[in-house]
């Protein structure tokens, strides 16, 4: 048992090497566009958070989200949308809203066959944005 324990610890510490950029791991711009569109479609149809997008231009939101994920993941984009705080502030989003959108994104990535290590690498970049988006 003690031996097995040591083996398990060393396996856990042997973090996988990240040779590719996250942008490549996600499948490039085509896949990022697909994931962003699907995320917003799932979110807009979600009974918990969907109504927030009732007044929005979804085509624009999808494109800006894709651009942002592209830039964050090291791809050849520059985010050209509005300031994150200004966009989200009027809605007074909560942590529960934020987490719900994360779940919608996870579903979209699952559907696109993105492996979980890669999903978590993207979520690690998005998670700190909670401080800009959640205001209640």
């Amino acid at each position: 048992m003690r031996m097995a324990f040591q083996i398990a610890v060393s396996l856990l510490l042997a973090a996988p090497a990240h040779a590719d950029t996250l942008f490549e791991r996600l499948g490039g711009m085509d896949m990022i566009t697909r994931i962003s569109e699907r995320t917003i479609d799932i979110a807009a149809a979600d009974p918990l958070i969907g109504p927030h997008w009732e007044e929005s231009n979804l085509v624009r939101v999808k494109a800006k989200l894709a651009e942002q994920i592209c830039e964050l993941s090291g791809g050849p984009c520059k985010y050209s949308g509005n300031d994150m705080v200004q966009v989200h502030k009027p809605f007074k989003f909560t942590n529960a809203d934020f987490n719900r959108l994360v779940e919608n994104l996870q579903q979209a990535m699952d559907e696109s066959g993105v492996d979980h290590a890669t999903q978590n690498r993207l979520l690690a970049l998005l998670a700190p944005m909670q401080r800009e988006i959640v205001t209640r």
């Binding site: 048992m1 097995a4 610890v9 856990l12 918990l48 909560t94 987490n99 700190p128």
Partner: protein, 300 residues
Amino acid sequence: MKSTMRRFACMLSAVAFPVCFGVSPALGNDNAKPLFDRGKLLATGGVSQVEGAGGAGLTTWALIGGYGSDHGLGLTAHGTLVPLDDFTFRSAGLALGVFDRLELSYSRQWFDTGGTGAALGLGEDFTFGQDIFGAKLRVAGDAVYDQDRWLPQIAIGLQHKRAKQGAILAAVGASHDTGTDFYLAATKIFLKHSLLANATVRFTKANQFGLLGFGGADDGYDATFEGSLAWLVTDHWVAGVDYRTKPDNLAFAREEDAMAAYVAWFPSKHVSVTVGYADLGEIALQDNQQGLYLSLQMGF
């Protein structure tokens, strides 16, 4: 303010009002948000550790148990079974997470000596046991969102333990049949690497978690350590290992460090199943106590 008052009203009468449980649609209108909101991400409340607090296996984490967000509550119930070589450990309990800030827990433990009880002169199936009342307060950091900071999520907590079988505990040399553990826990999720690390320092007099009473030949508080390393395999599967040091207060028997390795499955926010292997070392003169670690948790 209005919504806070409503939350407390719901808290007091949660069972009676289905609106608090999210039966009503939670749209736009703030007042319709359910109190038991399941607003946290899957697995981010951990599972019930051996003493009924949010954590895993043998270690207490800084995470608040259950799925209540910072505007909600989360209630969990657990049952745990650890059939060891010469004994059987069982526990059952409840934990309430309040606004992802405070965790209140109650757990009951049974330690059945089986046939070994007769050999030890206690009688066959003699069962040690204790009640554990726990409270944990998150004081800093956020294990999930603070991915760009080194600061872990930090919590302080206590576990007040009231052991059964006081006369026997006194006979084996324990100084007390009640005791209170205090702990400081730090949990960091490294999402980039799909890893969770936890370190906890516990100040305790407990012998075998408190099942064999508190204090003894040595009756001071000991600082003990609980460490966890877990791999977030997917959003539904977590695999981890725990290591926990323990005091060694009793003169009649040696007490050793404990460790466990486990896999936890989270099919939904309502259920999790933990299956693992625990090595609790020597207990009451019976060396090398190992066995399966099985735990079921239900969440509301």
